[in-house]
């Protein structure tokens, strides 16, 4: 396996769907994702359930999946601060992800604090998680553009990334939160960041709002990045939220990576089963192209 996929569908995907999926179905989905060969799965979020009712069942999901998951599978959860961390710890989670934004306005809107004010909150959570023997991941949102500010200087991203690394995170995932990036920008941003941080500690997190998601992955691959976040089926971007769009689809990502000679450890047929399952649960056609093509092929084969 020379490219790691971090499956974020159960968290980043489902938190942006209008339908609330029951905990049992989330657990079933995660089991199917593990069966397909995914070894890194972000299962839920311990933010205040008032803000994200879709993931209010984080305890139930984590407690349902952790005992069932294999030793070499890393199940993680998003936590905003030490309170979230405490909830995660009580569930037996051994890997957490912290988050903040590269742009001031988005950070305020999302966390209700300035970037500078956010640092000690995350540092405290990181310190405690590390003391508990957990692995810690960092997310930086709006790296490639902010819905309120537009362009975001790469120096902002360098500053936030540097701060997260100083806190002891094992890797930083750089997010194109609103899906505006194009390959040229991806080359430029990663070329800047690898001046401070080795490629092994950086991940690409692309949304496919404007169809450039996989092109951006290819650009990041060319810069040596080998960790990518994606969502089964391209989950997220509920059709009632204007302009929203999901993460890049795990099926499409795996298809492209395998076609380019990379190994992911993922079985694309089994991944299709997971995608078909959650598509049915949500009752809407998901955006993954490979899911669509594979399901159509299966249907055709049944008829012949």
């Amino acid at each position: 396996m020379n490219v790691q996929i971090v499956e974020v569908g159960p968290r980043d995907g489902l938190q942006n769907e209008s339908v609330i999926v029951p905990a049992e179905a989330k657990i079933e989905l995660i089991k199917k994702l593990i069966d397909a060969g995914l070894v890194r799965i972000e299962a839920s979020s311990f933010v205040n359930p008032r803000w994200i009712p879709q993931l209010a069942d984080a305890e139930e999901v984590l407690q349902g999946i952790l005992p069932a998951s294999k030793k070499d599978v890393r199940i993680s959860a998003l936590v905003p601060n030490v309170r979230g961390l405490e909830r995660a710890r009580l569930c037996g989670v051994s890997e957490v992800a912290l988050f903040m934004s590269a742009s001031e306005s988005h950070n305020r809107k999302n966390i209700n604090k300035s970037i500078t004010e956010t640092f000690p909150v995350l540092a405290e959570a990181a310190k405690e998680a590390l003391a508990l023997g957990m692995r810690v991941r960092g997310y930086v949102s709006t790296v490639f553009g902010c819905p309120y500010e537009g362009a975001v200087p790469v120096d902002n991203t360098r500053r936030v990334t540097h701060a997260l690394v100083e806190m002891g995170v094992s890797e930083v995932s750089l997010g194109d939160t609103i899906g505006v990036a194009t390959p040229k920008q991806v080359h430029e941003v990663f070329q800047e960041l690898v001046k401070d941080v080795t490629t092994e500690r950086l991940a690409g997190h692309f949304h496919d709002t404007r169809g450039t998601g996989l092109a951006n992955v290819a650009a990041a691959l060319a810069e040596g990045i080998r960790i990518f976040d994606s969502s089964i089926g391209g989950l997220g971007g509920c059709p009632y939220a204007p302009g929203a769009a999901g993460n890049i689809s795990t099926e499409d990502l795996v298809y492209m990576l395998h076609g380019m000679g990379y190994e992911t450890g993922v079985d694309l047929n089994r991944l299709t089963e997971a995608g078909a399952y959650i598509q049915e649960q949500l009752g809407r056609e998901l955006t993954s192209k490979v899911l669509k093509a594979n399901l159509a092929k299966q249907k055709q084969e049944e008829h012949t």
Copy 2:
């Protein structure tokens, strides 16, 4: 303008939709595409209407659009042979496109002839078209994979491309007909082809069946290719034909190209109008991500 877009939606897109769009609506669509700044549009096809009823109105469409189109706009039509060419000529078309496949089985299925038997048919049409002062384009299908044979050796593509160039075509468009290509293969194929043909005479024609379309464009750009085919809205791939998927979307292509610093001469807002128009005509949500994002943004702005 340093990247040329060949809009193939009215032909390659609409021939793969289940709904038959009336000629007046096709003419209106093409006018909107011209208004958006597109200067190369493949308007219809003069193949036997029995095979493609969606484009049976080729005469009406061409005669409707040719007098209205500006001098610097190149309106073309697909022709299979001298009979099709004669129909095109009678409409006043000054640019035609010929087509064949890189794989034997697809060529037989599509043209009912072997590759070798197809050469003289196209050569005759090319010769006559050139004698009439027309510009001639060549298409090669199944360059990156064949639905019947799987992998297609790049030597097949070299042979067919070479034959088309010998016939006097001004450029050859290399098609990923079933949308299986990944960027690695795109690099490899174009690196081989530019040994025989200059980059200015090659175009990339990608379908987005597995989500890799724009990533493949980025790969071809890196090999010096500057002509790409696309369809407004991502037309094609009717939902009732299993596994079918449309061309890459012109809106998404333009978005990515502009983001990468290329000039296309296309106004993305006006392009959205054209996409919204044909989406309404077809009565289904098209796959273009930029179309969806821009329409959602407009809707949001109307409400605030």
